[in-house]
């Protein structure tokens, strides 16, 4: 990319910043203008992200574009490092941002101050984190996205939000501290913050400095695992996400993926194949932590009564799956995991939005009943002979029901939606490390552990989603239909349609994911592109 196109790499950061800054100066009364600005900005982000992804994917070369900020050479200036993975995550972020923005229009934007600006800054932080090729700059963007998320988590106020939000802030501030410790240790022994430069330096690092490097990386990893809500570091997630306003929760479903992204990026770049004595560092721990997180997620999904917490518990499963898949360290598994990441982020986002719509038509405490009724029996069977006439479902409920069904299928990884393809792609790669039919290969224990964890968590999700769905959609006593605006259902449908599209176009999409994974698994390409020299 050259000419004006090259500057598009920085647009995903600059555009929301500019729009957000303009919004800050506007008065509270200019809500319509703010909404229009926000919408335009997000649509622009989506267009830019898609454009970047296409350019990278069909272009020649290793699929890594470098943007040198301030025109300074890479090692000491900051660079943006755009590869297929970054572009993909930019698209997903923009999609979720668009959904949140649309959903907030009728109601939620008025529930507190500066919603639109905070959303823009949130997008800026996410995009920056996905784009940057500099470790300290990553910290900065983590702070941007966290600061914005503090605001969004508290958006709408209320006791539950403030309580959960303050816990969330405390935990994340502590994690940021760990981040700083880790970064400074790595900088102290490597003398650089540029990720590609680090990748070039680590293989040649003297053995005496290696323990400090690895300890720094381990502490840094803990910081990321906190953000990714890995067990036992992620107990903040469910209360925060469940209490957050739906649009905020929808965008948060991408935020928990940032920790995963950072782990994947750094583990594969710094400790990937062919990176010298430290190669493979932490992989086993990631698989173990991931499987533990999946197990915890599966158990919480089962033990959860209300829908928002159920959605939150699903994030654990998603995070654990991705962590373990990254830890497996196989190209194919990573490719499948990227597919899974997109599918589960969109599904969870859609689910958070859907929950509130369902909530509106329902008497409080219905899902508390879902489990307790099960525990104590559902009274006596009703007299069926009188009742065996179907009740027509109002159109609104039918659409909500279909959306719920789609979310459940996506989250449980059942056919026919992309959740199934994603799971299959990962499992296929786990069982056939060399490729399907490419000769017998030994499947490591971690592969089996992940396989079992995936199946059991899928089953747990089916149980929980069926229970919740029946209770919320079928067993409604009064049959009150929630008052829902089309603009509130539209974003949910949009997210689900993307998932359906990913199923139909599984071939091309999967090729993109595999190419992205292949780039990630060739860490030697990054120094060549970023520093302009071979290591």
């Amino acid at each position: 990319m050259n000419g004006w196109e090259q500057h598009l790499a920085v647009a995903p950061v600059a555009l929301p910043l500019i729009v957000g800054a303009i919004m800050v100066t506007l008065d509270e009364q200019r809500a319509k203008l703010k909404a229009a600005l926000g919408l335009a900005s997000i649509l622009g982000l989506l267009g830019i992200a898609v454009f970047l992804a296409i350019r990278l994917h069909v272009g020649i070369g290793p699929g890594i574009a470098v943007y040198r900020l301030g025109n300074w050479p890479a090692s000491f200036g900051i660079v943006l490092m755009l590869d297929r993975l970054s572009a993909l995550l930019l698209i997903v972020t923009a999609l979720l941002g668009l959904a949140a923005q649309l959903y907030a229009l009728p109601r939620w934007q008025r529930m507190g101050a500066h919603f639109h600006a905070l959303l823009q800054f949130q997008l800026m932080g996410l995009n920056g984190a996905f784009l940057t090729g500099d470790l300290f700059n990553l910290f900065v963007f983590f702070e941007v996205l966290l600061a914005a998320s503090y605001g969004l988590a508290l958006h709408g106020s209320g006791v539950a939000r403030v309580k959960a939000g303050l816990h969330y802030i405390a935990v994340n501030l502590a994690a940021s501290l760990l981040f700083l410790i880790g970064v400074s240790m790595i900088y102290g022994v490597a003398g650089t913050l540029n990720m590609a430069d680090l990748a070039a330096r680590i293989p040649q690092m003297p053995a005496a400095n290696r323990p400090l490097l690895e300890a720094g990386a381990a502490i840094l990893g803990i910081a990321f695992l906190v953000k990714a809500a890995a067990w036992p570091l992620g107990f903040w997630l469910v209360p925060t996400y469940a209490a957050a306003s739906p649009p905020a929760a929808a965008i948060f479903s991408m935020m928990s993926k940032v920790g995963i992204y950072a782990v994947a990026r750094l583990v594969l770049l710094l400790f990937g194949t062919g990176t010298g004595a430290s190669a493979g560092f932490g992989g086993t721990w990631l698989v173990a932590g991931g499987v533990a997180t999946i197990a915890f997620g599966a158990v919480s999904v089962l033990a959860t009564q209300d829908l928002p917490r159920l959605a939150g518990a699903n994030v654990y499963i998603s995070s654990g799956t991705l962590l373990a898949a990254v830890g497996a360290g196989q190209v194919g598994v990573t490719g499948g995991a990227l597919f899974y990441l997109v599918s589960s982020a969109l599904a969870i986002g859609a689910f958070f939005l859907l929950i509130e719509l369902l909530d509106r038509g329902r008497d409080i405490g219905a899902d508390v009943l879902a489990v307790t009724l099960e525990a104590y029996g559902e009274g006596e069977e009703e007299d069926e002979e009188d009742d065996a006439i179907g009740v027509p479902i109002p159109v609104t409920m039918a659409i909500l029901g279909i959306c719920f069904l789609c979310c459940a299928l996506l989250l449980a990884g059942l056919p026919p939606l992309s959740g199934f393809i994603a799971k299959f792609a990962m499992l296929n790669a786990l069982l056939n490390p060399a490729g399907l039919g490419k000769g017998p290969a030994l499947i490591p224990w971690s592969g089996w552990a992940l396989l079992i964890a995936l199946f059991l968590s899928g089953f747990a999700t089916i149980l929980a989603m069926t229970r919740a769905g029946i209770r919320n959609l079928w067993a409604t006593e009064d049959g009150a239909v929630p008052r829902v605006r089309a603009i509130e259902i539209a974003p949910i449908l949009m997210l689900l349609l993307v998932c359906i599209g990913m199923t139909v176009a599984a071939g091309p999409v999967m090729r993109y994911m595999q190419a992205a994974a292949a780039t990630l698994h060739a860490p030697q390409d990054y120094p060549r592109q970023v520093l302009g020299r071979t290591r």
Binding site: G125, A303, E381, I393, R467
Partner: protein
């Protein structure tokens, strides 16, 4: 080519029909026509495809889906798939016709037909799949649509429970099947059915054969309701009867049989296959038949009888004999015909009398004679009466049981006895079904006056019963060719010679049949009184309540167990979460260091300077003291924290870092003041008496140990870092390039605004966002009741307090402004810069608030912090964007000297504009926080309302500005 289109159409047409049906208005006749036409067209497509097989071809359709994953959308139809496709589409046509009359006009028909057609498409997908993953794909879809159809009458609790149970069991089994197929694909190296079928030897010899087998059989057994997973089927009878007839007798439950037969050539033939399936099939066969006798609901009786027959087919498949395989396929078809017709007959009775309870029904032979004849024939086929199709396949079963009984094992040996026993029971429940409903004295206390159903409602039953008779009398002429194609597709050259004749002469199987008939009649007479007593439950097996067991397991798993585990694994308490984080980080660092150990570097240490040592000792002591006091004495802790900050500040000076020292100093001042303002509203904490309890002491000791170990560990790591020679990193570049290329002699400032200006841009955004968040949070803040009271200093005339300081502070204001501007302008070359200057100016405002109070300041001075913030951000990012206009990367700085003639040269760097943005943002954000905090005192004096309800969000807010 044409064949491919037939196959594709056979799968897609039902789905298309489903979509159209879902969108149509609730017009029963129109929908039934649509569904009927779709089903007929599907049947025609199957017929066309089968014609191609007759012509010796193997119709297939392939479409690359995700070829990299070995996933293709491939359909293939051989004789076996064709036979099943005929069953699915053919019975589908009849069911649609039947449902047209069965469903009530008030029922929401579009949903029903949409689900039914979608199920048909999924089932076609299962039987026609040429790829095993794709088979799993459609397999789970059949479970899903079965769930939706069982739960069609969602307002009925039994329907919801039955649907959920069915989905749990079958979808769970589907997951097992998925896993098994993945392992199979791993063994074979392909998921294509053709490839799998060609590698039977390799599969059976592979070490992973057993896990794959068990998983695949789990899938098949759950779907086909084999013991111990059979319990979902009777509860699925809560579905409308057409659904029961279609899904739960003819097609869905046969999917498991289909799968076992489909993979029979590669998976069967081993001891494991026999040892798993034979006991399961046997128990299912006997248990189902026995329990069926004691059911009072006609549909429940048929459901258990279905379970029994499925067990029979499984048993046949388990025998590892080619002839048994033939019998299994044959019986599958026969069972589908007679059982679907019986279900429909039961539905007719239910429809026309209002009840399905055999205890209430009697003598329907008089009011609905034609239906009675049809049901009689179908039930006779079920019981295995000669000249009907059920008889022939049962005879084959008997002869197979006798053949394998020659083997030495006990399991083999008891088969003939068991087969006869099962047949006796089958005759008994068939008799009960017919005799109970149609014979005996007519009753007149039924919910509806019984009469014959509409003529077309009976047609499907008539067709099926006709098939029972024709196949029963002329098997080779009717089903023969079809069966032959199916069996050959499975067994290939190994297809045994078999005879489909009705009459095989007087032999042992015939004797067994006769014994079964006689025994069944005798048993029915024996049990007649007991059955009519109307007792609920099954004698001897009353304790085996599948539903209760299922629900108990579910409650245990998803409630008690899961909740207990979550309580064990998780916490909602912040303290524990933070402790876990610290401990995990400690553990991670320790584990990373363990293999190599942590050694100090070899840099020579400088001599200890006593002054610095004292400063550090004081700073450290203050930090520890602050932590010690933080819980109950916040003010003291805050003051101590400030002292630590000052020690840090002095350290920076000692290390010749004036920029850092200046920043640190200002940050200390601003944060301390803001924290003090916040502290005012915190509820008081009173040391409670219980805090000295042994447990609490122990907990604090634990926390102390963790803190001490972590702190010492971090200190050790820092020591090891700092005693190492710094690597040849980027820091040298900063020093050499700062003036030459960055145009400034203050390296720190050049780093901030130029080299790493992007970081700074992010950081000021963080500051701005935090200010916005504080604003958003605090404008809704209501302090705790005990903090609302106005302090002494603010009561009465406040001006008496701080009179001298306040005058001084006001006088200082212009000075502070001047210093701030000075710091901003010199920043690029001398200590200073936008961040410091912004803080400085904010301190100026802050001082005014302290001196004059909120009201006084705001009467005299209007600061619009949001404008400052927005302006600052725009300035900073605008500098970046400006570079791109000139074709340079974002944030590229421009540097020149402006010649001002006699005034000399003024250094001009675009970075200065960036710094101005930083200045504006820092000032705006700090002041915004200050204002919202200060406004608390104004607000809470006005009113201290009770805490607002969660959703009371729309009241006008008190703006922090204007």
């Amino acid at each position: 080519m044409h064949d491919a289109i037939y196959l594709l159409a056979a799968v897609l047409l039902p789905y298309l029909g489903a979509v159209v049906a879902a969108l149509l208005p609730a017009n029963a006749r129109l929908l039934a026509w649509l569904a009927g036409c779709v089903a007929l067209a599907t049947l025609a497509m199957v017929g066309l495809g089968f014609a191609a097989i007759e012509a010796g071809g193997l119709p297939r359709f392939d479409l690359a889906w995700a070829p990299e994953l070995g996933l293709s959308f491939s359909l293939r139809m051989d004789g076996f798939a064709g036979l099943f496709a005929f069953m699915v589409s053919g019975i589908g046509v009849l069911i649609v016709l039947y449902a047209r009359y069965y469903m009530s006009p008030e029922d929401p028909i579009p949903r029903f037909f949409a689900f039914l057609l979608a199920f048909m498409g999924s089932m076609m997908g299962v039987v026609l799949s040429g790829n095993l993953i794709q088979l799993v794909f459609f397999w789970e879809l059949t479970s899903l649509f079965s769930f939706l159809l069982i739960g069609y009458w969602q307002n009925v609790a039994a329907a919801r429970n039955g649907a959920r149970m069915a989905l749990t069991v079958t979808a769970g089994g589907g997951l097992a099947l998925f896993a098994g197929v993945l392992i199979l694909g791993h063994i074979v190296g392909s998921y294509e059915l053709d490839a799998v079928l060609a590698s039977g030897e390799a599969i059976r010899a592979h070490p992973l054969y057993l896990p794959a087998l068990v998983l695949i059989l789990l899938g098949a057994m759950t779907k086909s309701a084999q013991f111990p997973f059979h319990f979902w089927l009777p509860h699925a009878m809560a579905a409308p009867t057409p659904v029961s007839a279609y899904l739960h007798s003819a097609t869905l439950v046969k999917a498991g049989i289909f799968l076992m037969a489909r993979l029979w050539p590669v998976l069967a033939g081993t001891d494991a296959w026999f040892n798993i399936l034979c006991p399961v099939g046997l128990i299912t066969l006997l248990l189902g038949a026995y329990v069926a006798i004691f059911q009072h609901d006609m549909k429940a009786l048929l459901a258990y009888s279905t379970i029994s027959h499925l067990g029979l087919i499984t048993l046949l498949l388990s025998l590892n004999s080619d002839l048994a395989m033939v019998a299994a396929v044959f019986h599958t078809v026969n069972h589908a015909t007679f059982k679907a017709s019986l279900f429909m007959a039961a539905g007719i009775i239910d429809h026309e009398t209002g009840t399905r309870d055999i205890r209430r029904l009697s003598g329907l032979n008089e009011s609905m004679p034609f239906t009675a004849r049809l049901a009689l024939v179908a039930a006779a086929a079920m019981a295995g009466v000669p000249l009907l199709n059920g008889f022939i396949s049962k005879e084959m079963f008997f002869s197979e049981a006798l053949t394998v009984a020659t083997a030495t094992s006990v399991l083999h040996g008891i088969l003939p006895v068991a087969a006869t026993l099962a047949s006796i029971l089958a005759v008994t429940y068939s008799l009960r079904f017919i005799h109970g409903a149609f014979f005996g004295p007519p009753v007149d206390d039924l919910p509806k006056q019984p009469h014959e159903p509409p003529q077309f409602m009976r047609v499907p039953v008539e067709v099926l019963v006709f098939l029972c008779i024709v196949v029963g009398i002329l098997p080779s002429a009717t089903i023969g060719p079809l069966l032959d194609k199916a069996v050959r597709a499975l067994l290939g050259d190994a297809t045994p010679s078999y005879s489909l004749a009705v009459w095989h002469g007087f032999n042992l199987p015939l004797a067994m049949s006769l014994v079964a008939l006689a025994g069944g009649i005798a048993l029915y007479r024996l049990l007649y009184r007991h059955l009519n007593a109307g007792l609920e439950g099954t004698p001897l097996l009353g304790f085996l309540d599948g539903r209760r067991a299922f629900e108990q397991v579910m409650v245990f798993i998803s409630w008690r167990f899961a909740r207990a585990l979550v309580r064990l694994m998780a916490t909602d308490r912040l303290q524990i979460q933070l402790m876990l984080m610290v401990c995990t980080a400690l553990l991670a660092a320790t584990l990373a260091l363990l293999p190599h150990g942590l050694a100090a570097g070899d840099v020579a240490l400088t001599a200890v300077d006593p002054v610095v040592a004292i400063i550090w000792a004081v700073g450290g002591a203050c930090a520890i003291a602050a932590a010690y006091q933080a819980k109950y004495h916040r003010l003291a802790a805050l003051v101590l924290l400030g002292s630590t900050g000052l020690a840090t500040c002095l350290t920076f000076i000692w290390f010749s870092a004036p920029d850092l020292a200046l920043t640190q100093l200002l940050v200390e001042i601003v944060t301390t003041v803001l924290l003090l303002l916040g502290l005012r509203w915190m509820p008081r904490r009173i040391e409670t008496a219980g805090s000295g309890a042994p447990l609490a002491r122990l907990r604090r000791l634990r926390d102390f140990v963790i803190a001490a170990v972590s702190g010492l560990g971090l200190a050790a790591i820092s020591y090891a870092m700092m005693t190492r020679v710094s690597p040849d990193g980027i820091s040298r570049e900063f020093l050499t390039r700062a003036y030459k290329e960055g145009g400034g002699t203050n390296v720190v400032n050049v780093i901030l605004v130029d080299f790493r200006g992007f970081d700074t841009m992010g950081e000021i955004t963080v500051l701005g966002v935090v200010a916005l968040t504080v604003f958003a949070l605090l404008r809704r803040f209501r302090p705790a009741p005990e903090s609302v009271g106005v302090p002494d200093q603010q009561q009465g005339d406040a001006r008496d307090w701080l009179l001298v300081p306040s005058v001084t502070m006001r006088l200082l204001f212009p000075v502070i402004i001047a210093v701030s501007i000075y710091l901003l302008l010199r920043g690029h070359d001398q200590p200073g810069g936008g961040f410091i200057a912004g803080l400085m100016l904010a301190v100026g405002i802050l001082v005014q608030y302290m001196a004059g109070g909120t009201r006084w300041v705001e009467d005299h001075l209007r600061v619009l912090p949001l404008r400052w913030m927005g302006f600052g951000l725009l300035l900073a990012v605008g500098t970046g964007v400006a570079a791109t206009v000139f074709g340079r990367p974002f944030l590229t700085s421009y540097f020149a000297y402006a010649d001002l003639g006699p005034l000399g040269k003024l250094p001009l760097a675009s970075a200065v504009i960036f710094d101005l943005g930083v200045f504006a943002l820092v000032f705006g954000a700090t002041v915004l926080i200050l204002i919202v905090l200060a406004h608390q005192s104004v607000r809470s004096q006005r009113a201290a309302p009770p805490p607002p309800p969660v959703e009371a969000l729309r009241e006008p807010a008190i703006a922090g500005e204007d």
